[in-house]
Amino acid sequence: MSAVADRYPELQKLGVEVLSMSVDSVFVHKMWNDHELSKMVEGGIPYPMLSDGGGNVGKIYGIYDEEGGVETRGRFIIDPDGVVQGFEVLTPPVGRNVNETLRQVQAFQLVRESKGGKATPSGWKPGKTVLEPGPDLVGKVWEVWKTDMARD
């Protein structure tokens, strides 16, 4: 969660609010922030650290692990209408990549601003080719988009 805090200014610039959530109590959140995370990120965690004791919220989001009694690494991107645009769920030992989260947010924002008129192909990043789906593009994606554009 410190990795997300580290990129918080960039997320804020994109108009993204961050909420973190685990089954730990708010008292433990305070201790973790004050005694460890604040040593990794200056000023500590800048967003609300939510407590979901019992995993009631995690259960409806489908990411609660009944056996372990914890929440798995579920990350949800929710748009201004409250609609889930994307999610990624990992088992506990592997951390997420905040770069990918930022990339996806930028892609979803571009699509939203175009009112669905634009689509971002695989590996899209700001500055790369955007597709405008329509009758004229059918069968002609190969002319405007190459697989090497999906690479970094």
């Binding site: 961050v18 909420l19 685990s22 708010v26 650290m49 009631n56 489908g62 690494r73 929710i78 209408d81």
Partner: protein, 86 residues
Amino acid sequence: MPEEFDAGCARPTGGPVGEDDAPAEKETEEVFKASAREGTMIKVGQKAPDFTAPAYYKGKFAKVKLSEYLGKWVLLCFYPGDFTFV
């Protein structure tokens, strides 16, 4: 947006919003619906289930409700636990 609350000795909790508002006679049906949803993944393109939860935020304890963030992009990150390693 986060609203400060006074923490007592009880561990504060939150939960899904909606089910509790249902009339009593509807309770069984609502509980059934809720349990049917549990453990199944939600879908992209659908509304994120609303919830309230207590939070630690900038040195204070606050109550957070997801639906109060309508109009903004939200990144909701679950993780296994405080003081874990990743």
